[in-house]
């Protein structure tokens, strides 16, 4: 057809002329009876007369079909004629309409085009007319039977194979066949298809004789192709599954069908797509391989081309309908397993190249080693089951078309194995940020891909695969390959809000998906499986390497304009996710959240500001508060001026105020939880009641008191809270004096659950504030305090509480103010604001939790405390580092890997590492790196100190751990330990193997800055854990009494949970080392220490941890020796614990 498209105007005219020559002007006459018709159609060798007869018959049939004139009379003539020419003998050989058949055959033999055409036209019309009439259908069936006789088949074949310019012969023949196939529900369909040697003659060619560009097809005159397509589709429709299979196996038929689909009229395209879907794809009985052969990439691409279908003569809605239909069709083909293109696959477990399921293979291979090796191998490509879809996917352009993007993500969802495969195969399209529609389109596609949930059990059908899926593939599903660190950093650049917003959104998605993946790693049996635990760790490590550093995210957050609240809310959520999911990355950035968080507070508090605050600002605040609860340096109780002119207030009280302000629309559950945690941690309130009584009292006071008086209450409360937080010991002593009169300790303890330091502080501060208050303020204070005590009393009354209340009452009465009796104030179940919500049920939760089985299994203990001994050696670094620039050496952690090689068990590797360290030190010293001197000094000292040890055996882990952790400090001059590390390095050229470098300066020296004590401790504990690896290390810890000091550190009641956990990790690590537990028990009284900690801590979860650790220590020690040492005391202690 392509040829014809280039024909010029003359050519087209010539074509029309030729057609005219073959068309003699057909003559015909009106028919008034069946007998007359029989006469007209009697066989005659004179072709002009034959045509005259056929034309007359056609006129009659046309009046019936069109319904013009007297339709019933015409129908009666037809009926009469059919009865007249009905064959006398019924049977297979009977010939219906024998005159016409004979004429046709004769014409075919003599190549008389006019009659060949007219005969087919007339027969097609007859079949069309009789199909509507129940009594005439039998004639139609007779005609069909006649058609499949050999003579007629030859005529058909002759007609169909006419020269392709003779559409006037081919088209009616195809119409005739179509009528024959469809007659009476497809009664003859099968036999007509059986005779495909004749009936399908030249079908492939005929399917490609379409209308030309110059001669666009009008709907009245269908092209040969249209007729051929309709015939073929009718065959599909009326055949049974077996027949369809046979038809589809015809070579290339489907290819001919779709070859020109793009230039078909809309109605035909829709017909083709509908028929293929209904009669082929949805037919369960057609086997997969046949469908698979028919719908290869070529066919799919042709249908894809319909997305950009255009047709100048049709209305826009029709054109849109085609592209929509094509989209639905491809969505069906590519995502529905019945359609035969989508193969069942194993999700994130890649197809094994030897055709075996990797899941099965994974069952056989048990060592973690083989898994590691496998992981690497998928860097050369990801084998998949759905190779056709993989090829098709690579042809899509998801960045420029929404439909392509939708289709591709739908394919990914149906066959998750293709996600990693797609991005691996299509790496050329980068995600470099540009403000273009293409970039946005790609970002949108990537986002939708990331939102595809991970398949259950990572796609393993058995759900019990022993090995996890390869880390790389899983990672590509969480964070598609185009989103690499470099590109993401550029996207986050504050120069464009749009790219940074999109990047933020994607990173949030990735981190949330990572959390789901990690949860899946710990589901069911996997929680105890070392391979799954290892894999989870590997996944997090690999993830951290691919995402931007925390400082980039912080920079991006800082760069957002204040009024862009949605963007800020998302960015702060990303920061929070860093803290929650990958704290190792988040904490390394030393992000001080407090200034930002004060800013948001300010903007929320300033009622007069122009822009009204929306829910996003509050979301941001909640995120920042949660971040603050993770950062050890947060000063909750330091008073700062949040709003100028409104006096100072601590962030804690300001948040409390916000929490209880009644004009807030939505509950801030997250904020409430964090505040309550902070309050409990600082012992302001008890763990049993949390903030609930206080919030309840505040909410009721707001209703009762004027805003001015409320200010007084707030400042009083702020004062009490700050005092409690800054000098808790003072109030603890007062608290004890209140409780001392109680009968016995047990009672006091039970009472303590509702009674708290804040109440004590209120009682103590009241006399001072009352002096400066006027009468209405005093009344407000009295009302608030009585509300607060009533709320406490309602939770759990105690004698101590009554005593405090009495004191308060005394103070008020001495100033002639009345205080309501304890418990006399009514506390509505739900108050007007703030206090309802998730937190209220805390008490019940905690109590029920206590009743539950609290003991912790050893596996859970291991999960909570065990940090694996340092990662496997990477000897490749010995060669790799030479090629790197100094900045990369320092930033990429190559130095760290090299330092760790000093601990290798092979002497030659240790020696190599030592030499390389010296070379590296020299290289750094020569470079222009800013901190080069310090790093050079550190490396040189490490080398000098290790040199004597390298030959004889292991280098002390303390050296390695110190160097690795000190390196992090040297990179960051703002680190509080920076001065200490530097002065340590300049102090002596070599370190003693019997000592822990720098430990003395941290534990015994003053903190470099007042409020950085805990930051220094946190660093030290991480370093100490790393320094404890071998029995030799243990002996250093033992001889220099570091273990004792660490345990003493752990006894500090104000130590935050995460620091306490680090202490316990060191203890756990020691129990893993040979004779570690025995040393700890006999030399440092570990068991009694643990028991004391258990008794002192209020949290049942933590207590369970101590108990489990006691059990672990006992199980791993030399029990005979410990028994003898303690004279049986240890067993008694353990027995007491289990009671």
């Amino acid at each position: 057809m392509g040829k014809r498209a280039s024909i010029d105007a003359d050519g087209a005219a010539a074509f029309r002329k030729r057609q005219k020559i073959t068309h003699d002007v057909p003559t015909g006459e009106d028919v008034s009876s069946g007998e007359q018709l029989r006469g007209l159609l009697a066989f005659d060798q004179d072709m002009r007369r034959a045509r005259h007869g056929l034309q007359s018959f056609k006129r009659l049939l046309d009046t019936i079909v069109s319904g013009e004139g007297d339709r019933s009379a015409s129908l009666a003539i037809l009926r009469e004629y059919l009865e007249l020419v009905r064959p006398r003998i019924e049977g297979e050989d009977a010939v219906y309409l024998s005159d016409i058949m004979e004429m046709w055959s004769f014409a075919a033999q003599t190549n008389e085009g006019g009659v060949m055409s007219s005969a087919a036209v007339v027969l097609a019309l007859v079949l069309n007319v009789v199909s509507d009439s129940l009594e005439l259908v039998k004639h139609g069936l007779g005609i069909c039977q006649t058609l499949v006789q050999e003579r007629q088949l030859k005529s058909i074949s002759k007609n169909l194979s006419s020269d392709k310019t003779k559409g006037f012969i081919i088209s009616p023949t195809l119409r005739l066949l179509r009528e024959a196939v469809s007659l009476d529900g497809g009664a003859y369909a099968r036999r007509i298809v059986r005779a495909k040697a004749y009936t399908f003659a030249s079908l492939g060619r005929n399917l490609e004789i379409g209308s030309t560009v110059e001669n666009p097809e009008d709907s009245r005159k269908a092209s040969v192709r249209t007729n051929a397509v309709r015939f073929f589709l009718s065959c599909l429709k009326y055949l049974h599954s077996d027949g369809r299979k046979e038809l589809l196996s015809q070579k290339e038929l489907l290819s001919h069908l779709t070859f020109m689909i793009k230039s078909d009229p809309p109605s035909l395209v829709v017909e083709i797509l509908d028929s293929l879907r209904t009669y082929v794809l949805a037919d369960n009985k057609i086997s997969r391989d046949i469908k698979f052969k028919c719908f290869n990439t070529k066919t799919l691409m042709r249908i894809l081309a319909l997305y950009s279908y255009s047709n100048s003569t049709e209305s826009e809605s029709e054109v849109d309908r085609v592209s929509e239909k094509a989209h639905q069709f491809l969505m069906y083909v590519c995502t529905n397993p019945v359609a035969g293109i989508l193969y069942p696959s194993t999700g994130l477990y890649p197809k094994e190249s030897n055709e075996e399921f990797s899941v099965q293979l994974a069952k056989q291979k048990s060592s973690a080693h083989s898994n590691l090796a496998k992981d690497d191998s998928y860097r050369d490509g990801v084998p998949v089951f759905n190779f056709v879809l993989s090829e098709f996917a690579s042809k899509l352009r998801p960045w420029s078309s929404m439909k392509h993007s939708q289709l591709l993500t739908a394919i990914f969802e149906a066959a998750p194995e293709l996600i990693a495969n797609y991005f691996f195969n299509n790496q050329s399209f980068t995600f470099e940020p540009k403000l273009t529609m293409t970039w946005i389109g790609y970002a949108s596609f990537l986002f939708d891909t990331m939102r595809i949930p991970l398949p259950p059990s990572f796609g393993d059908k058995t759900r019990f695969a022993l090995n996890p899926p390869p880390t790389n593939i899983l990672l590509d599903n969480i964070l598609p390959l185009p989103l690499n660190q470099k590109v993401m950093v550029r996207c986050l650049s504050p120069s464009s809000n749009l790219t940074s917003f999109f990047a933020t959104r994607m990173l949030i998605e990735a981190l949330e998906k990572l959390s789901v993946a990690i949860k899946l790693h710990r589901e069911g049996f996997r929680v105890k499986d070392i391979r799954w635990n290892e894999a989870a760790r590997r996944l997090i490590d690999a993830f951290c390497r691919r995402i931007p550093d925390m400082k980039e995210v912080v920079r991006s957050y800082k760069g957002i304009a204040n009024e862009n609240t949605l963007h800020k809310a998302m960015a702060s959520r990303l920061l929070l996710l860093y803290y929650e999911m990958i704290p190792q990355v988040a904490l390394a950035a030393n992000f001080d959240v407090s200034p930002f968080f004060v800013n948001v507070l300010r903007s929320l508090q300033s009622d007069g500001s122009d822009e009204p605050h929306d829910g996003f600002r509050e979301m941001e605040l909640e995120n920042l508060v949660s971040i603050a609860s993770y950062s050890p340096g947060m000063r909750w109780f330091a008073r700062i001026e949040i709003l100028s002119g409104k006096g100072q207030s601590s962030p804690f009280t300001t948040l409390l105020k916000l929490l209880s302000s009644s004009d807030r629309a939505a509950p801030l559950d997250q904020l409430k939880k964090v505040l309550a945690d902070v309050a409990v941690e600082n012992q302001l309130v008890s763990a049993a009641t949390r903030l609930n009584p206080l919030l309840q009292a505040v909410a009721l006071s707001i209703d009762e008191n004027s805003p001015e008086n409320m200010e007084k209450i707030w400042s009083f409360l702020d004062n009490c809270i700050s005092r409690c937080a800054t000098s808790p010991i003072k109030y603890l002593e007062v608290l004890e004096s209140y409780s001392a009169d109680d009968n016995g300790d047990v009672q006091a303890k039970a009472n303590g659950r509702s009674f708290n330091l804040l109440a004590v502080a209120i009682a103590e501060q009241l006399p001072y504030v009352i002096k400066s208050a006027d009468a209405p303020e005093r009344a407000s204070l009295s009302s608030f305090i009585s509300l607060y005590f009533s709320a406490l009393y309602k939770k759990k009354g105690s004698e101590a509480l009554e005593r405090v209340h009495a004191k308060v009452e005394e103070c008020f009465s001495s100033n002639s103010v009345k205080l309501a009796k304890l418990g006399s104030r009514k506390m509505p179940k739900t108050s007007s604001s703030g206090t309802q919500g998730g937190e209220d049920d805390d008490q019940e939760h905690e109590e029920s939790a206590q009743q539950k089985d609290e003991s912790l299994s050893q596996e859970q203990l291991e999960e909570a405390l065990h940090i694996p001994f340092s990662s496997p050696e990477d000897t490749g670094v010995l060669l790799k580092w030479h090629a790197k620039a100094v900045e990369d050496l320092i930033e990429d952690g190559l130095i760290t890997s090299l330092i760790r090689l000093l601990a290798s068990e092979h002497t030659n590797i240790r020696k190599e590492a030592l030499t390389n360290l010296l070379k590296m030190a020299a290289k750094i010293d020569e470079s222009a790196y800013e901190e080069k001197k310090q790093i050079w000094l550190l490396l040189s000292e490490l080398a000098e100190s290790s040199r004597p040890q390298v030959d004889s055996g292991f280098v002390p882990s303390a050296f390695i751990a110190f160097s690795v952790h000190a390196l992090e400090i040297l990179k960051n001059p703002l680190h509080p330990l920076y001065p200490k590390v530097n002065s340590f390095l300049t102090r002596s050229p070599a370190w003693s193997p019997e000592k822990l470098p720098l430990a003395h300066d941290i534990l015994h020296g003053e903190p470099s800055e007042d409020d950085k004590y805990y930051t220094e401790i946190a660093w030290f504990l991480t370093y100490a854990l790393d320094a404890l690896q071998t029995p030799f290390d243990l002996s250093v810890f033992h001889k220099k009494r570091w273990l004792e000091k660490i345990l003493a550190l752990g006894s500090n009641p104000y130590l935050r949970t995460n620091l306490r956990l680090r202490v316990l990790r060191i203890v756990y690590r020691a129990t893993c080392i040979e004779s570690g537990s025995t040393t700890l028990i006999t030399r440092f009284g570990l068991l009694t220490w643990l028991d004391a900690q258990r008794a002192a801590c209020g949290n049942p979860d933590e207590a369970a941890l101590y108990e489990a650790l006691m059990e672990r220590a006992w199980n791993t020690c030399d029990q005979a020796r410990v028994r003898a040492w303690s004279k049986g005391g240890v067993e008694k202690l353990l027995a007491k614990k289990t009671q």
Binding site: I440, F447, I452, F501, L566, G615
Partner: protein
């Protein structure tokens, strides 16, 4: 579309889009002037902007909608 944002409320979705368009207006102007921006890019752009609405939990959506109502009232 995967997880077709089925739990996203239409009201929130449109509010999100409105807010985002406002915050990114400067950059969106640049995109509109880019060579590859055509008339039929608009639905794609809207989809790209709006798809992030699904990242908010129903509770968060309610909170924002409530705050928006409060502002109007």
């Amino acid at each position: 579309m995967p997880q077709d944002a089925s739990h996203t409320k239409p009201a929130f979705s449109s509010l999100y889009l409105q807010k985002l368009t406002q915050e990114l207006s400067e950059d969106l102007d640049k995109v509109r002037n880019a060579d590859d921006f055509k008339a039929d890019s608009v639905p794609f752009l809207v989809h790209a902007l709006q798809q992030g609405a699904a990242q908010f939990s129903p509770a968060q959506q309610d909170a924002v909608l409530k705050a928006a109502e409060g502002r109007r009232g």
